[in-house]
Amino acid sequence: MILNDVVCPFCGCLCDDLELEVEGDRVVRVQNGCSLAEATFMNDTRLPAPIRRTTTGWEKISYDEAIKETADILKDADRPLLYGWSSTHGEAQSVGVHIAERIGAVIDNTSTVCHGPSILAIQEVGHPGCTLGQVKNRADVIIYWGCNPIEAHPRHMSRYTTFATGFFVPDAQRERTVIVVDTRRNDTANIADEFLQMEPGGDYAVLSALRAIVRGKESIIPKKVAGISKEQLIRVANICKNAKFGAIFFGLGLTMSRGKYKNVRNAIELTDELSRHTKFVISPMRGHGNVYGSNEVFTWMTGYPFAVDFARGIAFYNPGETTAVDILRRGECDAALIVASDPGANFPRVAAAHLAKIPTVLIDPHVNATTALSRIHIPCTAAGIDAAGTAYRMDGVPIRMKKVIERGYPDDAEILKKIYDRLNGEMGS
C-alpha cells in the first residue's frame, strides 16, 4: 500500500510530504524523506513487551503489572520527576501534565537540554519570528548561526530556505545570500556565501558587535572580535540591513555554549535592531519532532513551557532549580517516569547516574540507554509510525502525525491514562 503526504516525526521540520510503501506491519520504502526519515520508518526495532529489572537480570511482565507498579512508585514518591515527552504526541503530553499535578511532581521536557535557554531568552525579550513559509516565500538573506542543518535537519534548506523556490524568490539559489556562523567549518558552512568562523564561546561578543554596528557605533569595535575581522562584521551587517527579508536560524551552538541563554537573547536583540531597518526574523532549530509541542501543551496547561514543579500544588518554574538535570544532579528526586526520550544517553553522567539509584520507569518504544538505568521499561507505540497525534513544528505550526502501520502496541497516552486513573482511584480527589 502506498501512503501519501506522510509526516516524518523525527525532527522539528516535521516534513509532511513523504511517500511510504507499507507491507503489513512494515514500511518497506520511504520516498522524499532524508536518511533520518528512512531510518525512522524502516529501521524500527522495538522492545517486545514490558520488562522489569530483577537482582540479576530482566524479566518480562504484563502491561497491567507494569502499570500498577508504576502507579505505586509514583504515588509514594516525595519528589517524583516526569521527564521526556518530546517524541510523543500532544495527547500523551497532556496526560503527563495531569499526572504531575496529581502527584506533586516536577515535569520537564527535553527542551531543557536543547532550546531551554532559547525559551529563557524569549522570556526576557520576546521572539520576532514567523512560520517557515514566510522565509521560503520571501527571504533573500538566511543566517545559520551555531547550527548545522545538513546534519541535524537535512531537509531544512531544501524545503524552507537556501534551495526552496519561493513566491518572491523564484530563483532561490541565486537570489538568496546564505551566511553561516560557527566554530567549525561544517558542511553547511561549505555552501555559505559568507562564513564567519568564530572562536569557541565567542557568540555573545560577536552578536554585541553586530548590534553596535547596526546602531551606527562601529567606531568602537576592535579590529577583531572572537577571531572575526571587523571588516567582515561590517560587511555582514550591511548585507543584513540591505536585505528585503532576513531570517536567522540558530541552534545548539548558541544555547549550549558559555552564556547559554544570553547568547540567544543577544541574537534576538540583533533581530530587533535589524527590524528597525528592514524585515528580520529569528527562529530556533528545534530538535525532536514534537519538542515544541511539549512546550505548547505545558504552557497552556501550566503556564510554563518546561521545568514545572508542582510540589506545592501550584505550578512553579525556575530553570536551574526545577530543570531535570539539576534535580538529578542534586539527587533530589526519589522516583522518575521517563517518557519518549533517553536521558541515559543525553544527560551528563552524574545526572544520569541518579536515575539508576531510584525507581525509574521508562515508557518508550525502543530499547535505549535509559533502559539500563530503569526498573521497568514499558514499550508503546511510536508517534507518527503506529500512532497518530498532534505535533508542533519548530515554527509552531501544528500538524497531525499519521498512523502508518499497526504493530500491536498500546499508545503511550493510553498507558499514561491508566496510570493516571489508578492514581486518582487510590489518592481520591
Binding site: 532524508c34 529501521n43 567549525r184 572562536e199 564561546g201 541515559g344 545526572a351 539508576a356 540507554a369 539500563a372
Partner: protein, 130 residues
C-alpha cells in the same frame, strides 16, 4: 593536550539513535573528531584510540581527523560517550556545558566500551534482547 569539547548532532547519529545497542551507534557516538595538526601533535593516526579526561571522569574514543575542526577543539556527537565526561553543572540555567567543557586528550591502549558498559558503570544493568 588541553582542548574544548564541542558536541552536536550528525546524520549517522540520528539514523542510529533508536538503536543504541548497535555497533553502528557505538561507532558514530564514540568517534572523536580532531584537527589533523592536533592529531599529529598527539602522534596518532586516524582510528587510534584516545582517552578524554575531565573532572567528571574519562572515556575512550576513536580519533577521526577532520579539517573543519579548529585546533584546540574536539567534536563528539551528542550522546552517552560525550556525556560520560561532561559535568552536570548548569550555571543555574538547566543546560550543561555541552559545548564548552575543557578536556584532556591523550593516546591510549584501552578499548572503546559499549553503551551498555557505560551505563553499567553508572549503576545500570544492560538489557540484551534475546
Amino acid at each position: 593536550m588541553k582542548c574544548i569539547l564541542n558536541t552536536g548532532r550528525t546524520v549517522p547519529q540520528g539514523t542510529a539513535v533508536e538503536h543504541k545497542g548497535s555497533d553502528a551507534y557505538r561507532t558514530v557516538a564514540s568517534a572523536c573528531f580532531l584537527n589533523p595538526v592536533d592529531m599529529m601533535l598527539l602522534g596518532i593516526e586516524n582510528g587510534a584510540r584516545i582517552r578524554i579526561t575531565t573532572l567528571t571522569g574519562y572515556v575512550v574514543l576513536t580519533a577521526r581527523s577532520a579539517e573543519g575542526v579548529t585546533r584546540g577543539e574536539i567534536f563528539v556527537t551528542i550522546g552517552p560517550y560525550a556525556n560520560h565526561i561532561i559535568s552536570s553543572e548548569t550555571h543555574g540555567t538547566g543546560m550543561p556545558d555541552f559545548k564548552s567543557e575543557w578536556v584532556d586528550v591523550e593516546p591510549t591502549g584501552e578499548s572503546v566500551r559499549s553503551v551498555g558498559e557505560l551505563m553499567e558503570e553508572i549503576g545500570g544493568l544492560r538489557y540484551d534482547p534475546e
